[in-house]
């Protein structure tokens, strides 16, 4: 059973990674993102775990203008770490299971299906000091914000030396004071 999640942009009908068959099978997991064109392949985690983890990552660092695609890069990194480190995989799976159990107990549905962020936050508050939560947060704070693709969303311009710095590109262009 291939644990591959493929997400595609329906209007283009172009599958980003592995192809139609796998993606259709993923449709069965209900993970198709309707608006973005990207794929998330997980190997250590199950697709369901990946889905929960993606939501968890969004809830730790919620940015409404950042597509799932960038959070998926972080999930993929955690999945790769879990592949190499059995102890981490165990911690990750147990933590996600525990999170779902808390969600079911409090809201009668799985974590990713709890509708309001504020309600999911109540669950995260209960586990924020756990090594499970902290290991994900500590990884995510680098793996999310260190992607050049998210920088323009914050207005951050990144590398400037090759463009001659800002000496002629607005280092002192502030006029509103």
């Amino acid at each position: 059973m291939e644990k591959t999640i493929h997400l595609y942009k329906p209007e283009r009908r172009s599958f980003i990674q592995k192809g139609v068959a796998a993606s259709v099978s993923v449709a069965g997991f209900g993970l198709i993102n309707q608006s973005e064109a990207w794929a998330l392949e997980v190997k250590a985690l199950t697709p369901a775990e990946a889905k929960t983890l993606l939501q968890l990552c969004r809830d730790i660092y919620p940015h409404d203008r950042i597509h799932d695609e960038f959070y998926a890069v972080a999930v993929k990194g955690l999945d790769a770490k879990a592949q190499k480190d059995a102890g981490f995989k165990k911690q990750l799976s147990a933590g996600l299971k525990d999170l779902d159990a808390r969600a079911k107990k409090n809201f009668k549905r799985s974590y990713a299906n709890v509708g309001w962020e504020i309600e999911r936050n109540k669950l995260l508050k209960q586990i924020e000091s756990s090594s499970f939560f902290q290991s994900i947060r500590g990884d995510l704070v680098v793996s999310l914000y260190n992607q050049e693709g998210v920088w323009p969303i914050f207005g951050y311009e990144g590398e400037s030396a090759s463009k001659g710095g800002y000496i002629n590109r607005g280092f002192n262009d502030l006029k509103w004071l």
Binding site: Y145, A161, Y166, R169, G170, N172, L174
Partner: protein, 523 residues
């Protein structure tokens, strides 16, 4: 041409470290005709190798060897193995520094006298005065090309500076300008003018910022008297039966142990590695480590009272554009105990890129309170608060009892607790920093916790009496006459000012002193 010296050449001065202290000392000695082997633990990354990318640059330059921390400081909780953000590379932390170059004030050389007996603080007057230091400061400023000295104009203010200036002037602050910066505002000394690149902390890619890497060491190498040996990590300083040092042993690039003989040894590994090396060099004759008869090696570790204030505004700022720290408010750097603390602090412009802002704005936090701050990043201004912290005997670099490095040597442990004076000063500085930004129209403010230390000071401090410290007024150890300390570990107290200018001035003065002693055959 850069020369090479023999491992058995007993006539060389060995300088350990190539940063502000070591790089300057090694170069100045070479220019004066002294043969120098400078052993640098890191590699050599030239300015074209630097990258405008915070994490990639951190990976390239930062000292990330295992270190431990203890004490109540928040760094120990959030970054337990990264007490300091300093550099392991040729040029040391002068590759990473911001360039702020301000002199100590007169009273900061005699804090025990001026501040009196501050409970819990191990205050001591420096055995050197501002008056004695003035010519060396002047020499250092000229050498480094400090703006607003020697007729060099100030740097132009960037957007982040405009906010700081507007707010500070509304509050009535007078000493507000774009700083005394060792960053060329016009071409000088074969290096061009600042291109307002930003990324000052990631290594200056235009070379406008002074660094020993390209502004000093090549001049030393050109004399034929200086060899910089890279990827050489010194782990022991050796001595003879009379107690004089005879050389050092180090792990070379391949991890092989090598012995370099020496006439004189100068330690300049920054204030964590320098005391660690002296402690690691313990012997039958010096069971507590070299130069440690006072038991002060590693003690009185200072990191400056620091903190930051960021603020968001209704309109864009784009603080990352341009010189990172060319902006200062100096009015609070005075000693005015009516504020509820001794000593003073500076407020200086600062910015981090998105990757580091995420890591350092409020380490460990998550959720929307945190992420909405980052969402407003383009609308954000930032300042760094840097002031004098109190030396305390228990704030200490020591050898860790259990954890070993890749060579099997004990890693350093950095123990730190804020003194009540540090806390009172930080609270005051947060309040003033916030007031500045609110006066400029801030919509939200972020009093931000100290980062891992960039200013590491005091662990081999200068003292008039041997029992009070480790080195004398010239950085020569009280116990061993041909062993010197040449970095910020010498600082008796920290002052409010960014320390590099003082480190360079002390290194130039020490070079003069060492040459004098060698000429008189005293060493």
């Amino acid at each position: 041409m850069a020369n090479k010296f023999d491992l058995n050449d007993e006539s060389v001065v060995v300088v350990i470290g190539s940063g502000a202290g070591g790089g300057t000392l090694a170069t100045e000695l070479a220019i004066k005709g002294v043969k120098v082997v400078c052993l640098e633990a890191g590699g050599r990354h030239e300015m074209e190798d630097f990258v405008n990318d915070e994490w990639a640059s951190f990976g390239q330059l930062a000292w990330t060897d295992m270190r431990m921390t203890s004490g109540s400081w928040r760094v120990s909780r959030n970054f337990p193995n990264l007490p300091a953000w300093i550099v392991k590379a040729v040029g040391g932390s002068t590759t990473h520094w911001a360039g702020a170059s301000i002199r100590f004030q007169e009273h900061e050389f005699k804090t025990r006298t001026v501040y009196g007996n501050v409970k819990g603080a191990n205050l001591l007057d420096w055995p050197v005065s501002l008056k004695e230091m003035e010519p060396w400061y002047a020499k250092a400023e000229d050498r480094m090309g400090v703006t607003r000295t020697n007729g060099i104009p100030g740097l132009p203010g960037n957007n982040n500076y405009k906010i700081l200036e507007a707010g500070a002037k509304k509050l009535g602050y007078k000493e507000v300008h774009t700083g005394r910066m060792a960053i060329n505002s016009q071409p000088r000394d074969g290096r061009g003018a600042c291109q307002q690149i930003g990324f000052c902390f990631q290594g200056c890619k235009s070379g406008a910022k002074w660094s020993t890497l390209y502004a000093e060491i090549p001049k030393g190498e050109k004399t034929g008297n200086l060899e910089v040996r890279t990827n050489c990590h010194v782990y022991k300083i050796e001595h003879d039966s009379k107690g004089m040092v005879t050389g050092v042993v180090y792990f070379d690039k391949e991890g092989k142990s090598q012995r370099q003989k020496a006439r004189v040894v100068a330690v300049a590994g920054n204030s964590i590695e320098s005391p660690r090396l002296l402690l690691l060099s313990a012997s039958g004759k010096y069971p507590n480590g070299l130069a440690n008869s006072s038991d002060q090696v590693g003690r009185n570790y200072m990191r400056h009272m620091t903190g930051s204030v960021y603020a968001t505004f209704a309109n864009p700022v784009r603080m990352w554009r341009g010189t990172t720290m060319a902006g200062i408010v100096q009015d609070e750097s005075i000693h005015d105990p009516k504020r509820g603390f001794v000593g003073g602090y500076e407020m200086e412009t600062l910015s981090l890129g998105i990757p580091f802002m995420a890591a350092f704005l409020d380490p460990g936090s998550w959720g929307r309170e945190f992420t909405t701050a980052l969402d407003a990043y383009e609308y954000m201004a930032g300042m760094w608060l840097v002031g004098e912290d109190m030396p305390q005997a228990s704030n200490r670099v020591s050898l860790h009892g259990k954890v070993k490095d890749k060579h099997g040597l004990p890693v350093p442990n950095v123990n730190f607790d804020d003194h009540a004076n540090d806390i009172a000063m930080r609270d005051h500085a947060y309040e003033r920093g916030i007031a500045i930004y609110e006066a400029a129209g801030a919509t939200r403010v972020f009093p931000t916790t100290p980062y891992p230390s960039t200013h590491n000071l005091g662990t081999c401090r200068m003292s008039a009496k041997p029992e009070d410290g480790v080195v004398n007024a010239y950085g020569r150890t009280h116990d061993i006459k041909n062993l010197f300390v040449s970095d910020g570990s010498q600082f008796t107290t920290g002052g409010a000012e960014n320390p590099t200018l003082t480190i360079v001035a002390l290194a130039l003065r020490q070079a003069d002193h060492i040459v004098g002693l060698m000429t008189k055959r005293e060493i």
